[in-house]
Amino acid sequence: MLIALGLTLIYGILHIVNFAHGEIYMLGAMGVFYAHVILKLPIAVTLVAILVLSLLLGLVVERAFFRSLRGRWLQLVVASVGLSLIIQSLAWVAFGIQEKHVPSFFTGIVSFGGVRLPVERLVAAAVGAVLVALLYLLVYRTKVGLAMRAIEEDEETARMLGINADGVAALACAIGFALAALAGAFVAPIYSLNPGMGLEVILMSFLIIIVGGLGSISGTVLAGLLIGVLQSVGGVLVGAEAAYGLVFVVMIVVLIFRPAGLLGKA
């Protein structure tokens, strides 16, 4: 869901559907493997390094590709696909095809009245919730957030009012990238890692942002919860792969009855 949020943020501000997002998520997870497991850096240092690097990468990508193609959405989407292919193929070459595993950051199991949960999943969920809250505060309670929403509404007017649209767009892109990389870092101990993991995740994120409404943060959160539940319940009932089909059917139904998504603006 963090990935979907990053995507929705970038779409909302820049009107770009960023296909490279899944790859950033993959790089975040791989970063944990190489920094924490191979180089044995402490986990806090690893996370800060990933945060800084992904912010920088977001700025660079916005500057190098997205800015010069602003307003031509076909070229933009295609460019992001190209970027995604480049990162993924380099990752296969650099990281190899062998699946990688990261030991848990936190061990132990808590039980709530009979329900037993591993601590690391709780921490991942808590971190996710905190980041969602922070993002919400940033977009709806700060001046920068106001500028972001102004650009989303009407970029030309926003520019006339003296808003640095390029700067805000770069910031949104950087934050989106950082969300994806952190999401990757936190799920690293839960899944086994390979360079193709980004593609699976981006599919789910696209379904989530379509169902929630493109560019709507609260819609994304709602749809993320809904689809998460649907997928795990469906996975138990009909198997994980067929559950994709189920989620897809839900998306079609939503598109028929609420074409702009659950909480999207038409």
Partner: protein, 323 residues
């Protein structure tokens, strides 16, 4: 002259192959198949829509024909058509829902659709599961199975020439011109004000595009004699898009140029591995940033450059008058 050149190319395609080695024929078959895919994708990219899931419709066509042939023993000739029709039906269903919305909903839905198709093929044993379907037969003609590369080459040649001719003619029909008018939201509104049902036109274009992908997907599977969920993946969808963008959206010959260059040369230079999609992606980004019109627009750019160089005064005079 153009017509003569075209006739020459077709004659060469029809007459030269008996001289070719099997490997050359293999490359020719692969290139022809991909040219049709790219040209079919071009139908919808020409109207400003982007699909990241054409591989899903190609897979639908391929699986349909493979299942009909292996489970029911139905002739692949019928299978080709059935594959196209099934792909077209699914395209119609998805198109009806999503093509009323902005382009991005369509692109993402088609992408999701293709991934779901592949997941469903993987999940159920009826479709062969992850292993796919093996021993898909080649079609037979007058009692002989077309087992050699040369025999199958002619099947591919005929199917692709018919498809390409149809897709070419489609551009110059009233329908084809209407699609061009739907490319931007402003011209789309204009077209609708003239009583054109934009959503229905777009859906029909998508159906046509997927029909040819389905037919060619079936041909492709009977060529490989095998299909699995990992044959037609997201990477095929993106490769097709790369061919179209690199070749150029401005002309019917652009996607063809891109496909022939990148598949023909690419298959040779980078036989396997991740370097192929790396090179494709780099070429794509370079072309998008440097030559937005694609390679097909290069001659025009050079010609215009030469003319502007030759008569700068005249151009300036015109500009002055317009001011």
């Amino acid at each position: 002259m153009k017509r003569g050149l075209l006739g020459l190319v077709i004659a060469a395609l029809a007459l030269l192959p008996p001289l070719g080695e099997p490997y050359v024929l293999h490359v020719a078959i692969v290139v022809l198949i991909h040219v049709v895919y790219a040209q079919a994708l071009y139908v919808i990219m020409r109207m400003g829509y982007l699909s990241f899931g054409h591989a899903g419709y190609i897979a639908l066509g391929g699986y349909t024909s493979a299942l009909l042939a292996t489970k029911l023993g139905i002739s692949p000739w019928i299978g080709f058509l059935a594959g196209g029709i099934l792909a077209a039906l699914f395209a119609w269903a998805l198109g009806t829902v999503t093509l009323k919305l902005r382009g991005i909903y369509f692109s993402l839905s088609v992408f999701a659709f293709a991934e779901v198709v592949s997941a469903v093929f993987r999940a159920f044993e009826v479709f062969g599961g992850p292993a796919g379907i093996a021993a898909v037969p080649r079609p037979a003609l007058f009692g002989t199975r077309l087992n050699t590369h040369l025999q199958f080459y002619y099947v591919v040649l005929v199917v692709s020439l018919v498809s390409l001719f149809f897709l070419y003619r489609l551009q110059w029909t009233r329908f084809g011109f209407t699609l061009l008018a739907l490319r931007t939201s402003a011209t789309e509104a204009l077209a609708e004000s003239l009583g054109i049902n934009a959503a229905r036109h777009k859906t029909f274009a998508f159906v046509v595009s997927c029909f040819f992908c389905g037919v060619m997907g079936a041909v492709h599977v009977h060529y490989l004699r095998f299909v699995s969920p990992f044959v037609f993946t997201f990477f095929l969808s993106t490769d097709l898009m790369v061919y179209v963008m690199v070749g150029g959206l401005g002309s019917y010959w652009g996607p063809m140029l891109g496909t022939v260059l990148l598949t023909g040369l690419g298959e040779q230079l980078f036989a396997a591995g991740y370097y192929k999609s790396l090179v494709y992606a780099v070429v794509l980004l370079v072309v998008i940033l440097a030559v937005p019109g694609g390679l097909i627009s290069l001659p025009r750019i050079f010609r215009r450059g030469a003319r502007e160089h030759a008569v700068p005064e005249a151009a300036e005079a015109t500009a002055a008058r317009e001011r």
